[in-house]
Symmetry: C2
Subunit: 428 residues, 2 copies
């Protein structure tokens, strides 16, 4: 008779209660699939007296997640508290040091402290699993680490923040300005307590940093990621992009180049009919490119109780089955501290700006671009009644830093109203 | 110093040489990811003297795959010969009985003999892995068995024969008849030696049977699958479907219902803008529906050297890492011999037929449908110059067997020219 796998769950929010529900509902299914029972022994949350819609009476209660992590009667500590510091971090460290494996949905914690935590885990002969931290129920960590183990990974691309994708597609579908849709998302509870985490690209950036580490065997390095949020995107940009056959997505791209590790999270124009362009609403998609497998795309819900709890339980099932892997797919000490890329891969850019309607204004802009070595693929000045003229430019492939120089030059001409918006075009 | 994982490879066709290339190219990558070396010890193929574009001189050669399978100096036997009987089957049995794990890309072998082979594997404490048998490089077996281990699987849907999807999309894109595109595919080498395996839906049916077993914990049962190929699809069907906002796909669907296990592989109309409807060319897609995860879609190349070899190497890496699972995700003896569904889930159907242009013909057809209890959602008779009139009918939801009765009734009226074509509509 095999021994049960004993869980301690810290954090009983959406994900934590979702996990409890699965363990209760599918006890037999889990046993037949894992060859042993999966039992919850103890739980912990900030407040004990709260109706969470699940039976908790059979489990031991701990007020302190660190005390839960140190209990002798659990095998696996589930960290579902969240946040990169504080009790989540302390409890994960305590769990590893006291000989527990860890399953977590905490992208911020691992993006900021992943290397140190992976080293702690290995020093204690334990593992950290975090499928739920990236793209909800989509099996992207497992696909990269295990299914594609025979591939050199060429590139990882993803739309991994459902809230941003919801905002961008809703703006387009309803022809609404950013501010209105942002308020809608706020009311719907789609945004983090600090909305900058979502719309500033930080949450998605955390996820990309984790995928990059696994894909390229490098130390997780969120600090050096190029990050831009969607706050600058206006309905005009979405409509102009659509007019050219594109959609705007908050796109993460990671690749290892001769210039170092390129990691960027930014709004991009992608072809409207590509799988990423067609991704509507809060759905997530991750595209993995390997030297043998070619391109595979994984699509599904990136958040929510069910999908995230499903991913947590996938990790739990692996541990129940005795599958053990280093945190980032290979020993922490073997992960390289790769230099961040000195420059991103060149790409065409979309530029939108407003010019003062005066003779020679457009020529001055074109000159500023030319002086920075950027050539123009297409340019349109829209008819207008006001004294200011909206102008749209699509450049040929350019370096982002050359474009920044060009934008400085354009501003110096004095013919611009406000700042230009520059969005990378990814012809996937 | 961990011992290397020692491979014996039987079959050096496209997939076999692909695997050899990966092991040679990525020896170091595999070692860092798996924590041990992966070495090829011996190989076998029908002809020894043939330039396969890879170095084979370092490996032992066996003329007989069964002898290779029995060698004492290998840990894992890679069966890349193909075919459900003969040497592939004999060699897999020999490997298991002599204490080797097996990795195979052979869908036919497992669809027809999976239960017996799984039992043999378990009796010998060994495992069979077959990610490469279903949808090439797409990690669908692993996702189902491991990532979704906490889910009750509700339904599995897939476009899993790239050749059929190529033919159907090429017919539409180039407005070419089935026969012309079939000949093209033949010349391009896209078809199996026996093309019926592809266009008759058998190859895709084998894959679906394997997924159903894993998804529902049932014994693999290919014999009771409802299978229909794409040979009947005419360019008119594709154009009419497009006109109604649909695409025609060879779609596999498996679900466990109160009426038993439903498994069907048949052409279906799917919404043109759904992920499955948008799937062009030889690409594969599998959609998995779980009670917690919701719907996830996995998309990629379903065949070819790189993708298939990538999947084989994913399985090899798992074995190198010590990950061991029963063949169909739970012990073979625990798999239920589920009854095939007495009837498929009702659906609307598309019907195309040609009527003799005589008074009352359409009324007779409508009457035959009504007598079988099938109601009509839409009907169109096209203008025509000839004496025969093309008619298109979309029914309300109906049982397939009622529709068959109706078709018999329609034929008995004597107003039909040829047989009607009936295609299920799946509003995914």
């Amino acid at each position: 008779m095999p021994t049960p796998l004993r869980l301690g769950i810290a954090g009983l929010g959406t994900v934590g209660t979702g996990v409890v529900k699965i363990v209760q509902r599918h006890a037999d299914l889990l046993e037949s699939r894992c060859g042993r029972r999966v039992d919850i022994i103890a739980v912990s949350a900030r407040t004990r007296d709260k109706d969470r819609g699940v039976r908790l009476g059979d489990y031991e209660w701990e007020d302190d997640p660190v005390a839960l992590a140190r209990r002798d009667d659990i095998d696996v500590f589930l960290e579902l508290i969240g946040g990169s510091e504080g009790s989540a971090k302390a409890a994960v460290e305590a769990a590893l040091e006291s000989g527990k494996d860890v399953v977590t949905a905490n992208k911020a914690l691992l993006a900021l402290h992943g290397q140190a935590l992976a080293e702690t885990a290995e020093a204690n002969g334990k593992v950290i699993r975090f499928e739920a931290a990236v793209a909800g129920g989509i099996p992207v960590i497992k696909s990269l680490t295990e299914s594609l183990a025979g591939n050199e990974i060429k590139r990882v691309i993803g739309v991994m923040n459902g809230t941003c994708n919801y905002i961008l597609t809703r703006m387009q579908d309803a022809s609404l300005p950013y501010e209105d849709v942002f308020d809608e998302a706020l009311k719907l509870g789609f945004l983090e307590a600090d909305p900058t985490l979502d719309v500033g690209g930080i949450d998605a950036g955390h996820k990309l940093a984790l995928l990059a580490s696994i894909a390229f065997g490098t130390q997780v390095n969120f600090a050096d990621m190029e990050i831009e949020g969607i706050e600058q995107i206006r309905i005009e940009d979405i409509e102009q992009a659509a007019d050219m056959g594109y959609r705007i997505k908050l796109l993460g791209v990671a690749q290892l180049t001769a210039r170092g590790l390129e990691q960027r999270m930014s709004p991009c124009l992608v072809p409207a009919t590509s799988p990423l362009g067609l991704l509507d609403g809060a759905t997530n998609m991750v595209v993995l490119e390997g030297d043998s497998v070619g391109t595979i795309s994984l699509r599904g819900a990136g958040a929510g109780e069910g999908p995230t709890a499903s991913a947590v339980m996938g990790d739990v099932a692996d541990l129940a089955r005795g599958f053990r892997l280093p945190t980032f797919g290979q020993p922490a000490e073997s992960l390289r501290a790769e230099q961040p890329a000195s420059s991103a891969t060149p790409a065409p850019f979309y530029l939108r700006m407003t010019l003062r309607d005066r003779p020679g204004a457009l020529a001055k802009i074109a000159t500023a671009l030319g002086e920075a070595g950027i050539s123009i693929d297409r340019m349109r000045q829209y008819s207008h009644s006001a004294s200011d003229a909206p102008v749209l430019i699509v450049t040929h492939k350019a370096q982002r830093r050359d474009l920044s120089l060009a934008i400085e030059g354009m501003k110096a001409t004095g013919v611009l109203v406000g700042d230009p918006v520059a969005i990378r075009i990814e012809d996937l």
